[in-house]
């Protein structure tokens, strides 16, 4: 499931593998020594070193159900940026103030495998920041009605642990993480449980006879959670008057001004995030970013829909 | 770390090849073993074992605990090893952490058996007092006081001696009214049960230097090893655990050969330890 044949082909087409080594070496040296000038030459031609037009996002794929040990999971890839999101459902006692609501705990991890900059024991600086942005976005978008996660009012409710692992970091981490998170929720199946005599919630295995069900089955059957107004995002990099959609890690490090726009399905703004950067964003630039995001969320919605329908066919 | 000159290295390797080691031993001869029991009066059992300049102490403490829900009919044993800076200046601070962890894991493997508890050198089911409710938790602590090679075997021997020195208080369980209640226990101050050590294996480490293997290697000899295999063997001649150290690969047939050699050596070591332990116990009783 982690093997898309197509992206293997992509890596094979890298210019390094082609025959004329001499001239390729020179280009490579130029790219390393003068990265900004290398990019500016491309940008003047309205093209990027990976042959994309400025406003095009990289190939994006979503695979649902990547991990069997979770209640819902998804693998999202944007270019080579790869995110694995999985949801585990546990039971908690709801708070006194909100007895009819469940809870969602979101954590974003950058394990040492994902980037040469992360070392074991020293967590990446951006991980808690992306974590916070993700939980702000998902919770404030109203995608999930927390009341749906209630089991027994005041007694038991679901705690959904959403953990997102970055498996390969190559720019636009937030976009890929959000996409994988949303996909994991759309794959989530809430297990069938019942309340036992000790007041604890227990799992009902499928083959068990129905006699037990009257002991207060809380969930009659495995069910999906309803998602309303799904948020999707697009990150752009600004350089001079250029707007580059869906930057790679190299682009993010060379041109430091990053704008992330999150819109929901009804085109409402969930977040507009521009943390500093050398380029001052004018209103018209932000409007352009929003317009690019509008196009992008249509693509993302289609990709997600296809993944879901593919799952149902299986 | 032992820093040796090329000449010294060749001397050691050459000696081993000719079955005459630098301290006059043959390849499969142990250094003199000295056992002392009851060295720590506060503990339920303790022992000190010296093999040449290697000096280790093992100590057993028993506390009442609750069996794990997965194995209600078994007690729990925890083994930890600490390397004192007295043995080696580099053990100061966090220096010995890695070695301590490695020795702890190796001992756990050799003595505690599989996850189901089967094949454990220490009989875990004898530690249960009331199934699923009360059991003994044994805490076995090893301390390396002085280090001159073959630490694992010495620790294994010390643990065996400490266990045979261990008396576990007799526990009386009051018959409780309902099965749900916590049973009341009464720990006897006078009556002790001798811990059964018949199943405890000995650990034999065969260190491969050049094309030969030796037992009870000193630090100098260990610095020349290509790999070492530690095998724990019980009185039935069954293997209770095996770990390999050193990165170099070994031919499987050599491993098979090593196992059979280790088995042979283990019988002698077992007898030697038995007599040393009983002598030590006798000494202790006299005092």
């Amino acid at each position: 499931m982690f093997c898309g044949k197509e992206d293997k082909l992509e890596t094979m087409e890298l210019p390094n593998d082609s025959g004329d080594l001499g001239s390729e070496m020179e280009v490579d040296a130029f790219r390393r020594l003068f990265p900004l000038r290398f990019y500016e030459r491309h940008l003047a031609e309205s093209i990027r070193p990976d042959a994309r037009p400025l406003s095009r996002a990289r190939d994006t794929t979503v695979a649902l159900g990547a991990v069997a040990s979770a209640n819902g999971s998804a693998l999202a890839k944007i270019g080579s940026t790869t995110m694995l999101a999985a949801i585990k459902m546990e039971v908690m006692t709801p708070s006194v103030e909100l007895p009819d609501e469940g809870c969602i705990a979101i954590e974003f991890h950058m394990p040492p495998i994902c980037s040469p900059l992360v070392r074991p024991g020293r967590p990446a600086e951006v991980a808690p920041v992306v974590s916070k942005q993700l939980s702000d976005t998902i919770l404030s978008s109203g995608m999930i009605n927390l009341k749906e996660l209630s089991l027994v009012s005041g007694k038991a409710a679901w705690m959904a642990y959403l953990d997102i692992y970055c498996l390969d970091a190559d720019g636009a981490l937030f976009d890929a993480a959000l996409l994988s998170a949303v996909a994991a929720f759309s794959h989530l199946q809430i297990p069938v449980v019942s309340l036992n005599d000790d007041g604890k919630i227990v799992m009902l295995s499928e083959e068990q006879d129905d006699g037990n069900l009257d002991k207060g089955a809380v969930n009659k059957e495995k069910r999906k959670i309803a998602l309303s107004s799904i948020p999707f995002s697009l990150t752009c990099v600004l350089h001079k008057n250029y707007i580059l959609a869906d930057p790679t890690a190299e682009e993010e490090s060379i041109m430091e001004t990053v704008v992330t726009v999150v819109l929901d399905s009804s085109n409402q703004l969930v977040s507009l995030y521009k943390p500093g950067g050398p380029v001052l964003a004018r209103t018209s630039v932000l409007q352009d970013c929003v317009a690019l995001t509008r196009q992008r969320i249509k693509e993302l919605q289609n990709i997600l829909d296809e993944a879901i329908s593919g799952m149902e066919v299986d | 770390m032992v820093g040796l000159s090329v000449g010294e290295k060749r001397f050691i390797q050459g000696g081993i090849a000719q079955d005459l080691r630098s301290d006059g031993r043959k390849r499969l001869t142990y250094r003199p073993i000295y056992v002392e029991t009851g060295v720590i009066p506060q503990a339920n059992g303790s022992a000190r074992v010296k093999m040449g300049a290697t000096d280790v102490i093992a100590c057993v403490k028993a506390e009442l605990g609750r069996p794990s829900p997965l194995q209600p009919d078994k007690g729990k044993v925890a083994i930890f090893v600490d390397c004192s800076p007295t043995a080696e200046p580099t053990f100061e601070g966090r220096g010995a952490e890695e070695l301590s962890a490695e020795l702890s894991v190796a001992l756990q493997r050799c003595l505690l058996g599989g996850r189901s508890g089967a094949g454990a050198g220490i009989d875990l089911s004898s530690l249960v007092i009331t199934e699923g409710k009360v059991c003994w938790d044994l805490y076995i602590d090893g301390l390396v006081v002085s280090s001159d090679g073959n630490l694992l075997d010495a620790l294994g021997a010390a643990i065996m001696a400490a266990l045979s020195n261990t008396g576990i208080p007799r526990v009386l369980v009051a018959a409780s009214a309902s099965p749900d209640e916590e049973p009341e226990v009464d720990i006897s101050d006078e009556e002790y049960l001798q811990f059964d050590t018949s199943g405890v294996p000995v650990i034999v480490t065969l260190t491969k230097v050049g094309r030969h293997y030796i037992v009870d290697a000193t630090s100098e000899e260990e610095s020349q090893m290509s790999s070492a295999v530690s095998i724990s063997i019980n009185r039935q001649g069954h293997i209770c655990g095996l770990t390999k150290r050193g990165g170099a690969g070994l031919d499987p047939s050599i491993i098979v050969d090593m196992i059979s050699v280790a088995k042979h050596v283990s019988e002698q070591l077992m007898n030697k330890l038995d007599s040393e332990i009983s002598a030590a116990e006798a000494d202790e009783d006299e005092l």
Binding site: L117, E125, V126, P128, V129, S131, K132, Q133, D136, S140, S141, G142, N241, E256, T257, V259, D264, N267, Q268, L269, V270, S271, L272, Y273, K274, P275, G276, G277, P278, V279, L280, A281, R282, T283, L286, Q287, V290 | -
Partner: protein
């Protein structure tokens, strides 16, 4: 949109009373206290010190922000604030003057009564001026809050922040004095100070609402820049 009466009697566009004092800490190389109503932040600048941290570009100066909350330990929120502050301050400082050095900015929250992040940005900016760190321009930060009805207020208190539907923290460059003619200093038809350095939003809003926030934020940022310039002037005059 009807006029909404704010608890403290302010109009929607009215900021709370501002107060800024500099050079208040003896040991720090630069320091400032910034107050907006009851929200108060203390910023101290240390450096530039030699060397940069690992993973930072040694050909540039490194800016480090350490956020100290009023009480308790720092969590994800504080980490996020640190990152936003760091990137914001990086973009206003000239990093090529002192390459391979680190400048640390310690932000101590004294009291949080809403618009904390903007207040911290303002304090840090004043402290950087005090320390004499070379800067391209100054920055002024403002918080805009949106009610369900689309009604917009500036510089909210904590209570207002909690009751509103969404909010935007915006950082703009200060308005500068220039010898150039007005047209010449325009960047693509807009004055430089209309560009956005930093934007952080919380809660769902219409895109138009956001644009509205930008407009109001800009108007307020001009007031803030005037205040900043005046406060720098008054303190400089007492200096010499």
């Amino acid at each position: 949109m009807g006029e909404m009466v704010r608890e403290d009697g302010r109009t929607a566009n009215q900021l709370r009373p501002l107060n800024c004092s500099r050079n208040i800490l003896n040991r720090a190389h630069g320091s400032a206290r910034w107050r907006q109503g009851d929200t108060e932040v203390l910023a101290a600048v240390y450096g530039p010190k030699a060397g940069t941290k690992k993973n930072e570009n040694p050909e540039k100066a490194c800016i480090e922000v350490i956020w100290k909350p009023q009480s308790g330990q720092i969590g994800k929120l504080e980490k996020e604030y640190e990152m936003i502050m760091k990137k914001t301050l990086q973009s206003i400082c000239i990093l090529t003057v002192n390459p391979n050095t680190t400048t640390s900015i310690v932000v101590q929250v004294v009291h949080d009564d809403g618009a904390l992040l903007p207040c911290a940005v303002n304090a840090a900016c004043a402290a950087l001026v005090d320390a004499g760190i070379p800067m391209k321009h100054l920055a002024v930060a403002i918080c805009c809050c949106l009610a369900e009805s689309g009604y917009l207020i500036l510089d909210p208190t904590k209570l207002e922040e909690q009751n509103m539907k969404s909010l935007a923290y915006l950082v703009f460059p200060n308005s500068t004095t220039s010898v150039c003619t007005e047209e010449a200093s325009l960047v693509d038809g807009e004055p430089m100070e209309h560009g956005i350095i930093t934007s952080v939003t919380h809660g769902v809003m219409l895109v138009d609402n956001y644009l509205h926030c930008l407009e109001r934020g800009r108007a307020a940022s001009a007031k803030l820049s005037d205040f900043l310039r005046k406060s720098l002037k008054s303190q400089l005059q007492s200096d010499s």
